[in-house]
C-alpha cells in the first residue's frame, strides 16, 4: 500500500502545475508547426520537444543533474553551440552573388533598421504597465529582427538569458512565417512596373575572390568591431574551409554531421528554457509582438533602400530583392523569387536575392556586435 502511495506521488498526474500543462501545449504547438506545416522543422522540432521535456514534473530535465541542464550549460551558457552552427552555416554559404555585386550589402544594411527600430519600440513598451525591459533586454529582443537564429540565441544568451526561450521561439517562428509576413509589405511598397524589373546577369566569380572574401570580412570586423568577431569569425572560418578547397573533409563534416549534432542539442537546450515561469509572462507577448514589428520594418526598409538605389544608382535594381536583406536564408530569397515571378513570369530573381540575403546575415551579425559593445556584453 505504502509503495502504491509512493508510486502515485511520483506520477505526473499528482504533480502537474497548470503552467506546465500550458507550456507542454506550447511545445505540442511547435511540434505541429514543425511536422504538419514544415515550419523550420530542423529547429522547431527539437525546441518543441525540449519544451515538453523541461515541463515534465518530477523528472527534473532542467535541474542540476538533468540531461537538458547539462546540454544548456555546455552549449548555450558558453555560447559554443550557436557559434558552431554559424561555422556550419558559413561552410554551407556561397557568397558568389554578393562578391559579384557588392552593392547588395547596402540592402543587408538597410534591413537591419528592423533591429534598431524594435530596440526603440521595446523601450517604448515600458510605458505600458507590466513591461520593464532593460536596454539589454531590449537589445536581445530587437535582434529577432535580424531574422537569424544562431545570432539571436548567441546575443540573448549574453544579454538576457531569461528571455532566451521566448526570443529563440519568436525568431524561428517568424523566420518560418516569412512567406506570409513579407509579400503584402513588398507589394504595398512597390508598383507592378517595379516588380517587373529584370536585373542583368551576375558575372562569374573566381576561386581566388571566394577565398579572399571571408578573410576580408574578418579583417574588417577585427578592425572596426571586434565584439562581432565570435559570430563573424566562426562564420568566416566555415566559409574559408569551404572555399579554400584544401580541407574538404573538414568542410563536409562542418556542413553535415557537426551542424546536425549541434542542431539537435541546441534545439533541446533552447526548448529547456521554455519553462512556465519564464515563458508565461506578459513580456513574452511583448516579445512576440515586437518580433513581428521587427520583421515588418526590416522588410520595408530593405525594399525602400532598393528603390532608392535603383533611382540614384547606375544600374536598375528590382526593389523586391531588398526584402531578402533581412536574411532568413534561403526562405526570404525564395519569397522574392516567387513574388517576382507573379509580376513577370520570365523574371528569376533568386540569384539576385541571394546577395542581399547573405548580406543580411553579415548585417545582423554586425548589429549584434554593436549591441554587445554598446549595452555591455
Amino acid at each position: 500500500m505504502e509503495s502504491l502511495f509512493t508510486l502515485w506521488q511520483s506520477t505526473g498526474l499528482a504533480n502537474f502545475t497548470p503552467g506546465q500543462i500550458v507550456m507542454m501545449l506550447v511545445g505540442c504547438g511547435l511540434l505541429y508547426l514543425a511536422i504538419a506545416r514544415k515550419f523550420e522543422p530542423l529547429l522547431l522540432l527539437p525546441i518543441g520537444f525540449g519544451a515538453i521535456l523541461t515541463n515534465i514534473p518530477v523528472a527534473g530535465f532542467s535541474e542540476v543533474g538533468g540531461v537538458l541542464y547539462y546540454v544548456y550549460k555546455v552549449g548555450i551558457d558558453t555560447g559554443v553551440f550557436p557559434l558552431l552552427i554559424f561555422m556550419g552555416v558559413g561552410a554551407l554559404t556561397d557568397f558568389s552573388a554578393l562578391i559579384a555585386n557588392p552593392r547588395m550589402l547596402l540592402l543587408g544594411a538597410a534591413a537591419q533598421f528592423g533591429i534598431f527600430a524594435t530596440l526603440f519600440g521595446a523601450i517604448l513598451l515600458n510605458f505600458v504597465p507590466g513591461f520593464e525591459f532593460s536596454l539589454k533586454d531590449a537589445s536581445a529582443i530587437a535582434i529577432i529582427g535580424g531574422a537569424d537564429g544562431p545570432t539571436a540565441i548567441f546575443l540573448a544568451s549574453k544579454l538576457a538569458p531569461d528571455l532566451l526561450g521566448a526570443i529563440a521561439v519568436a525568431a524561428y517562428s517568424y523566420m518560418a512565417l516569412v512567406p506570409i509576413i513579407q509579400p503584402p509589405i513588398m507589394k504595398l511598397l512597390t508598383t507592378e512596373e517595379e516588380r517587373k524589373i529584370e536585373m542583368e546577369q551576375l558575372r562569374p566569380v573566381s576561386t581566388t575572390e571566394k577565398i579572399l572574401f571571408p578573410l576580408a570580412v574578418l579583417l574588417m570586423t577585427i578592425l572596426f568591431l571586434p565584439a562581432a568577431t565570435p559570430l563573424v569569425g566562426m562564420f568566416c572560418l566555415g566559409n574559408l574551409m569551404r572555399e579554400s578547397g584544401v580541407v574538404d573533409r573538414l568542410s563536409k563534416t562542418a556542413q553535415n554531421e557537426l551542424i546536425n549534432i549541434v542542431t539537435i542539442f541546441l534545439g533541446l537546450a533552447v526548448g529547456s528554457k521554455l519553462s512556465a515561469d519564464k515563458f508565461l509572462t506578459v513580456e513574452t507577448l511583448g516579445i512576440l509582438g515586437l518580433g513581428a514589428v521587427a520583421f515588418g520594418i526590416g522588410t520595408a526598409s530593405g525594399v525602400l533602400m532598393a528603390k532608392a538605389m535603383s533611382k540614384f544608382g547606375s544600374s536598375q535594381i528590382n526593389p523586391l530583392v531588398g526584402a531578402a536583406g533581412v536574411s532568413a536564408v534561403p526562405m526570404a530569397a525564395r519569397v522574392v523569387n516567387k513574388v517576382g515571378l507573379e509580376a513577370n513570369p520570365h523574371n528569376f530573381l533568386l540569384m539576385h536575392a541571394m546577395g542581399p540575403n547573405v548580406a543580411g546575415v553579415l548585417g545582423s551579425a554586425v548589429a549584434a556586435g554593436i549591441l554587445l559593445a554598446l549595452t555591455g556584453g
Binding site: 552593392r103 550589402l105 530596440l119 531590449a138 573566381s206 574588417m220 549591441l371
Partner: protein
C-alpha cells in the same frame, strides 16, 4: 532609470547602431571591390586567367558533364560484367 532617459538612450543606440552598420558595410563594399582587383592581378600573374574567372572547378564539372567520369567508368565496368553474366 526613468523611461524617458531610457528612451533617449535607445534613440541614441538606434542612430549610432544603424549608422555604424551602414559605415561598416560600405567599407566592406570598398574592400570587396579592392579584393576583386587584387584577385584578378593574382590570377593573371599565375598565367591562367581564363579558368580562374569562372565558378569553382568542381561546380563546373558537376554542372557541365552531369555525371562524373569515375561514375561512368564504374557503371561501364558494371555493365560489362552484367552482360558477361547474362549471356
Amino acid at each position: 532609470m526613468a523611461v524617458t532617459e531610457q528612451l533617449l538612450e535607445a534613440l541614441n543606440l538606434m542612430l549610432t547602431g544603424m549608422g555604424f552598420v551602414f559605415v561598416f558595410l560600405i567599407l566592406l563594399i570598398i574592400c570587396i571591390k579592392a579584393l576583386t582587383k587584387f584577385a584578378v592581378s593574382i590570377d593573371t600573374r599565375r598565367d591562367d586567367p581564363v579558368p580562374s574567372i569562372t565558378p569553382a572547378p568542381h561546380a563546373v564539372k558537376a554542372q557541365q558533364h552531369g555525371t562524373p567520369p569515375e561514375v561512368v567508368a564504374a557503371i561501364s565496368a558494371a555493365i560489362h560484367q552484367y552482360r558477361k553474366q547474362h549471356k
